[in-house]
């Protein structure tokens, strides 16, 4: 059987295509077309004729994971397709592997990127923004995109190099634990940000600083209301109306 190893140029093209994974996100099969689009150059490299049609068909089924965590899945699937085109058997089928990993990878990515890195990067950049620094958006983009691009790039190449064993690599990274640490750091950061803004707002409005200690319980109370399903937008409008009314009365 002919040895078919993906050239680096083709892997680069696949990496570029991962940035368009969600271009056709839909309610029926979610990222299925996107996953096919990313893999298409490799499938054409590995197969021809009926084998190519069969490969295309198996990648048009339902697929959904976190967009950045799709890279290690793509990498592993490339390794499995390569084995498959050489006629080698793997202990896990290609579709089986995709179905098995997409949900846990999505949970890890959501917790780490959406729930951890993004609020933390925003929290740091908000300090700069409030101080009036125009570097704030740049700081946010750098802090956020370093781990983002690392996972996209290294995930794809490690997935391709390690095949199914990339799962062990991700387990060793302990992303859920890291996400919790980052979230805790963000909460501390936001506490400082609130204190800073409360202190200077009271000073500007010539209100005794001691009133500032009411801000933390107020935030916690609003948090409870949000937890009970009361829209933050509605709370903003109610509080703004109250502020305007109180200002008119006093």
């Amino acid at each position: 059987m002919e040895e078919r190893v993906l050239p680096r140029k083709l892997l680069g093209l696949i990496l570029l295509r991962t940035f368009f994974l969600q271009a056709s996100w839909n309610f029926e099969k979610l990222q299925n077309l996107g996953f096919f689009y990313v893999l298409a150059p490799a499938l054409r490299f590995f197969y021809t004729g009926d084998d190519l049609s069969a490969a295309c068909r198996r990648h048009l089924e339902y697929f959904n994971t976190h967009p950045y965590m799709a890279s290690p899945v793509v990498g592993s699937v490339l390794a499995l397709e390569e084995k498959n085109c050489r006629g080698e058997k793997s202990y896990l089928g290609i579709q089986e592997f995709k179905r098995m990993v997409m949900a846990p990878y999505a949970a890890m990515g959501d917790a780490f990127f959406w729930g951890g890195v993004r609020p933390a990067a925003a929290g740091v950049s908000l300090f700069f923004a409030i101080r009036g620094s125009y570097w704030a958006p740049v700081i946010f983009l750098v802090l956020y995109n370093v781990p983002h691009l690392y996972f996209r790039t290294v995930g794809l190449f490690q997935g391709y190099a390690r095949g199914l064993k990339v799962v062990e690599l991700l387990q060793r990274r302990r992303l859920p634990d890291m996400a919790i640490r980052i979230k805790e750091g963000t909460v501390v950061l936001l506490g400082g940000l609130c204190a800073y803004l409360t202190f200077f707002t009271l000073r500007e409005e010539s209100v005794p600083a001691g009133w500032g200690f009411a801000a933390a319980p107020a935030a916690l109370l609003v948090g409870r209301l949000v937890h009970r399903g009361i829209s933050p937008l509605l709370q903003v409008f109610i509080a703004a109306t109250l502020l305007l009314t109180l200002n008119r009365i006093f």
């Binding site: 048009l60 506490g191 204190a195 409005e205």
Partner: protein, 230 residues
């Protein structure tokens, strides 16, 4: 000038809108980036920064998990900045109070963005069906083309949301801003604090960290006492 400002901000809305879901996801779509970028394009980055801070704080805790569609904070940020700068100059009311009014106007109108995005995701189901047809006919390149068509759907949804925010927002602000600008200017500082506290509360409520309340309380008290003593 107003039309030119809205047009330029529309270009930012398109790029940031695609970055939100369909392409790249570098987070140019976050309000802390999209609003200052719009402000910079329109020649008033400081106004964009003010808008970005408020909206980023308010919706930082809303996550696009699974099939959930969070509020379109991108188009709210771009639209509010365009209104604050473009309409503010046109009416001769530009400044912090008008910026706050622009944000308050754009926030509820921006809910329409969720409707447009839901429509796009429903419409994209047809792309999957057409891709399956292309596969049956042996047109493999056709499947890739169907996928890329999705970009145009997301771009249209972004522009539609932006247009509604700017269109409806202009009409509302044209009539209400002269009446509200003075009372809002008297409480502008408190409004900013309001966004910070509610935004933080949303994050605390949605973050799912067991010690969030105690960590937040300790951090707030320490920082506040330090500022007070110094």
């Amino acid at each position: 000038m107003l039309a030119a400002d809205y047009f330029l901000a529309g270009a930012v809305s398109l790029v940031a809108g695609l970055d939100r879901t369909a392409a790249f996801q570098f987070m140019l779509s976050r309000p802390i980036v999209a609003a200052p970028l719009t402000g910079w394009v329109l020649g008033a980055p400081a106004t964009g920064m003010q808008v970005g801070i408020l909206i980023e704080l308010l919706w930082l805790g809303r996550l696009p998990i699974g099939a959930a569609i969070p509020p379109d904070d991108t188009q709210v940020a771009v639209g509010a900045t365009a209104l604050a700068i473009g309409l503010g100059s046109f009416l001769g009311l530009a400044g912090v109070p008008f910026t706050l009014l622009a944000v308050f106007t754009a926030l509820p109108i921006g809910k329409i963005g969720q409707v447009f995005e839901r429509l796009v995701r429903q419409r994209n189901v047809r792309l999957t069906q057409r891709a399956e047809l292309a596969l049956a006919e042996g047109r493999l390149r056709g499947i890739e083309a169907e996928h890329l068509w999705g970009l145009s759907h997301f771009a249209l949804a972004s522009l539609a949301t932006y247009s509604v925010i700017v269109g409806a927002g202009s009409i509302i602000l044209y009539f209400l801003a002269p009446l509200l600008i003075e009372p809002v200017s008297e409480v502008a500082g408190w409004f900013r604090l309001l966004f910070v506290l509610i935004g933080t509360a949303v994050i605390l409520a949605t973050m799912n960290v067991s010690r969030a309340m105690s960590l937040f309380g300790a951090s707030f008290a320490t920082a506040f006492l330090m500022l007070w003593l110094l």
